[in-house]
Symmetry: C2
Subunit: 187 residues, 2 copies
DNA sequence: GTCTATAGCTAGATAGAC
DNA sequence: GTCTATCTAGCTATAGAC
């Protein structure tokens, strides 16, 4: 076995960067190869099913990151709910690089005909709502309020990312995260 | 002069449909031609600068629709502010076809390197905020509250469109419009 | 496992007849 | 103004040497 020239982790980071900034259709194999430091044919060796598989791998990779740095943090009973909420929101801030980076769901949801992504996106969003629903309950919200707050939180994160980019103003994302935290703590 | 086989309005409707559902990179000249009922070469006769010009025309066309059916409605002094708010929000509901259609800003903001779109998107978002800021003031909000509410409204519209599509649940968009209205009226 | 080279295709865009 | 036919460039993907 010949040693890998580029580690899997580094490849995924490169792929993520390109898909996030260019979207699925906009990301060319050329760019993906350059961003990973591999030649096109080598990328196909790692991902035999081509571009689709690369994008799917990016979704899984980011999903794992969120699982560790957001969902697990929010549900970690070793810490009080308030601390978990704060830490989880910090994970979200990191995920989107303070609002500079786009949500991968958005980047990959624009191309048609790839039902695989739609399902992963649907599942992913449900996980987000579920995670925030639970922390809301632990913070003393009623079931109906917790549910409402969780949906609202997802909407505000997604919406503020769009508006942050459109108006080129990182404060919008930053402030929205603070508002989300305060709404949970005041309740 | 030979008569136009397809009217400008119809062409724009076809182009809009494709760009909105496929995004900029994902929309092929093939599809754009089919959607408009013209052949590719004929499309180039109408839009000599090609795909870029077609997308720009779509932005202008939708911008005019919003100007008429949202901004002018919100600022029409012939009606009381509450009625205007309700009617403007109904225009927004129509614009996005109850949440089934994507925001054109989102559809066109994913491709890189076309500064033209970025500028139009930035300008468009500022207009939205400005319009909601004014109606907020007329409804008796303080300047700082009106500003906050206007930004929040844009975030919630954009975010709810994303989540509505991701979770395939039109109620999310519908309810968010109601929440927006109530927040203004209760203030 | 990585590479060079290239196949096969479709994209965006044009030429020129009518 | 619309069409058929076509160009060229870029795309995704593969073959096969090392």
């Amino acid at each position: 076995m010949r040693p890998q020239k580029v580690l899997d982790e580094e490849i995924l980071i490169g792929l993520t960067k390109v898909f996030r900034s260019k979207g699925y259709e906009g990301a060319s194999l050329q760019e993906l190869a350059e961003a990973t430091g591999l030649k096109k044919a080598s990328l196909y060796h790692r991902f035999p099913n081509g571009k689709k598989e690369m994008a799917a791998a990016v979704l899984v990779h980011l999903g794992k990151w969120v699982e560790e740095n957001v969902f697990q943090v929010l549900s970690d009973r070793n810490h009080p709910p308030k601390v978990r909420l704060r830490t989880g929101l910090f994970g979200i801030k990191t995920l989107y690089n303070n609002g500079k980076e786009v949500c991968i769901f958005r980047a990959l949801s624009m191309q048609a005909g790839l039902a695989l992504f739609e399902e992963q996106i649907n599942k992913g969003m449900k996980q987000w709502i579920d995670a925030f629903n639970k922390i809301g309950l632990e913070l003393g919200l009623s079931p109906s309020e917790a549910e409402k707050n969780a949906l609202q939180t997802l909407v505000e994160i997604q919406g503020s990312l769009i508006v942050t980019k459109g108006l080129d103003d990182l404060d919008i994302f930053e402030n929205m995260l603070k508002n989300i935290e305060n709404r949970y703590l005041e309740a």
